[in-house]
Amino acid sequence: MKVMAQVGMVMNLDKCIGCHTCSVTCKQAWTNRAGTEYVWFNNVETRPGQGYPRRYEDQEKWRGGWELNRRGRLKLKGGGRLKKLFGIFASPVQPELDDYYEPWTYDYETLTDAPLGDDFPVARPKSLITGNDMKIEWSANWDDNLGGTSQLGHLDPIVEKIRKESEEKIKFEFEQTFMFYLPRICEHCLNPSCMASCPSGAIYKREEDGIVLVDQDRCRGWRQCITGCPYKKMYFNHKTGKAEKCTFCYPRIEVGIPTVCSETCVGRLRYIGIFLYDADRVTEAASIEDEKELYQAQLDLMLDPDDPEVIAGARAEGIPEDWMDAARRSPVYKMAKVYKVALPLHPEYRTMPMVWYVPPLSPVVDLLSEQGHDAEDAGNLFGAIESLRIPVEYLAELFTAGDTEIVTGVLRKLAAMRSFMRGISLGNDPDDSIPEAVGMEPEAMYEMYRLMAIAKYNERYVIPKAHVEQAHNLEEMGCSLDFDDGPGMYPSDPFGEASGKPTPVAVENFYALKQRQTTDGQTEPGELRGRVNLLNWDGRGVPRGLFPKTEDNPQMSPDSPAHGGGAAGPGPDYGGPSSQAGPSGNPLESQPPREP
């Protein structure tokens, strides 16, 4: 057993209102640049619908994910290693821009610059690819809210499949019964097929938190990952020629705050936490023959953080104690493994996706209320779940490779929770028979209700910080002699100032800012290495290095007014406490004081 930690996400689809805030904030944060105009690390699809890119779930066409070969071993659906290398000169099944959409902007300038005339000026759509006028024909969410579904609904690969297997009448009912939203990010799979497809080996899974990233320096743009990913969450930056993907906002996760999509989710439907899993058994679990057992196999990979054997294993692998603690409080582990209400998206792709979904009960509830039933009554709800065959089948195709029993079980749990808690809210005695009917303890059901309905911020996001004890000292790395007039002043790169790797610049992070704002003392000497950033100066005291030192006033008192250049403070602290007036020759110290 090799215990590894994985950051995972659960989305409670019942709460998604399809506002696309996650997509927009994600795009603003990560893909708001040339080459990624069409890239949506996070997108929200209306189901039934074609998804983004169009019909990405049709793996017979796009060849994403894994399949089993004749000997029952995992094999990339896109082909083996040799086949991939022979197809490298023109990727055989890469989606084109038409399968996504042609990104555009509007010629807003005309609105203000147009000469006076009889007609109102209009802002024409301009292609962001060619810059020419264009006709907008599709977008990342063109079929939002079932837009055009009466014409194009049959193009949803899942609708297509269900229809093939059921009677003709489904179509009519199908369109009348339901719609729900499916927000999607990269699944950060345990067995990622994008990674396996990458000829350069540039895609990697981080040992510490399982986040899957593309090494931008090692990616050579062979494009095989785009074919490999069955979720089509690998994108090609057409300006840089590199693959890009959702990063699980790792710079945020590392400091213990949730991803942008989670933080900004108005429905508060996203949960982030730690899973512990057995890395040794991933391939075995992904190779199970029956697709319908893949969900259970994946669940079995998730380890119980309270199990002494797992704890010992985790310690042996060097997983820190605070991570173990976070794993014990992990909301995603509870929803996926303890309550078993969260399901993986398309387990049949055999990639072991680690973004889980609580299937929506709302279509059932809505239908019952429309028909005049009491939609919160356990009996009514249970009956309706069974009889609403089609949504359950649809959900089963999404989450359990077609096994409707699992989905029904989850929906029954959700329905039971509704009616159980309604009884309590109405002041009745808790009806313990309801949780029992779905095989749960009343206490567990109450806890599940707290987690899913109350959903406090710190219960939704249990994110341990990355361990950067040593790395912290490396902040603003670089040679300590690299100050003006110092021996290291001239960049040592052979091709002049701009050559070589860029020097990292410290950006204020959440915890640093919080610490600074709430501390009693001043900014820790050496923390910013003599730089003063006025943007995050909190007005407390006078940061060292803000004003040059004068001879008669070598130490600026903290409470003296900061009124101008004549005020004095010690010079920038370059190398720590010893540089007060050391021989290093602080340039500011040697300057004559300016008159006020």
Partner: protein, 249 residues
């Protein structure tokens, strides 16, 4: 003049090729990519690109046979000059024509497909000129020997010894100088191509992912130890959205 061309220039070329590649690998990993335009256009690419690439691989193999393996070796295993010549012309001709046809198709695609043309840099254009010139002059030497029949020049007695002598640092300038003009031209353009190679998109050939055949499917890597979270290097590739940046080139 001959000394400069055939005694000095090859070594200058090697220095630029090796030094340039090392420099590029060290300082421009981010720019080291195929810069694929398949996202914009796929149909013509699916035909042209494999023809060109497989063609040029065959051409490279042909150059290896012709230049590196001495005439005496092939004769030792009983391969007559006529048989060798026929093979070189036939196989080499097919490969060369395929390569040329492939690249012509790719250039037509590049010129006629709007987005692909817009993504073409000046660097690319220069590279295409030199690359096509090298292919055309190379084909010319081959075809010339077809039409001249047996009177064709036997480069295995001039160019090849010179090529091999370069490796022992005693360039056989005289035999290269004796080769006809078409070979001189092809060699010079070829050297020019290798000189600009490290500075163009052609570098992707140097990182042909052969190790893919041997690496494990799943890659685990520890988090980069480097700038702490919150401290971030200036990221390459961040340009504002819009088409303005295309005009700036």
């Amino acid at each position: 003049m001959d000394i400069l061309l055939w005694g000095v220039l090859p070594y200058v070329m090697v220095a630029i090729l090796v030094g340039g590649s090392i420099w590029r690998y060290k300082y421009d990993q981010f720019g080291w990519t195929t810069r694929s335009s398949q996202l914009y256009e796929s149909k013509l690419l699916r035909i042209g690109s494999p023809i060109f690439h497989f063609g040029i691989l065959a051409v490279i193999a042909g150059h290896f046979f012709g230049l590196v393996i001495p005439k005496s070796w092939t004769e030792a295993i009983g391969m007559s000059q006529d048989f060798y010549h026929f093979n070189a012309l036939f196989v080499g001709g097919i490969a060369g024509i395929g390569t040329l046809g492939g690249i012509i198709l790719l250039i037509i695609r590049r010129r006629t497909t709007g987005p692909v043309f817009m993504a073409t840099t000046k660097n690319d254009k220069l590279m295409y000129v030199v690359l096509v010139a090298a292919i055309v002059f190379g084909l010319w030497t081959t075809l010339a020997s077809v039409f001249l029949g047996d009177h064709g020049h036997n480069y295995r007695e001039t160019v090849s010894p010179w090529f091999r002598s370069l490796f022992i640092f005693q360039p056989d300038i005289a035999s290269m100088a004796a080769a006809p003009f078409s070979f001189h031209l092809h060699t010079l353009v070829g050297m020019l191509l290798f000189c600009i190679w490290p500075f163009t998109r052609l570098v992707h050939a140097f990182t042909a992912p052969l190790h893919y055949l041997f690496r494990p499917y799943i890659v685990y890597r520890s988090r980069d130890v480097g700038p702490a979270p919150g401290s971030r290097a200036r990221q390459p590739g961040w340009q504002p959205v819009g088409t303005r940046d295309r005009d700036r080139k």
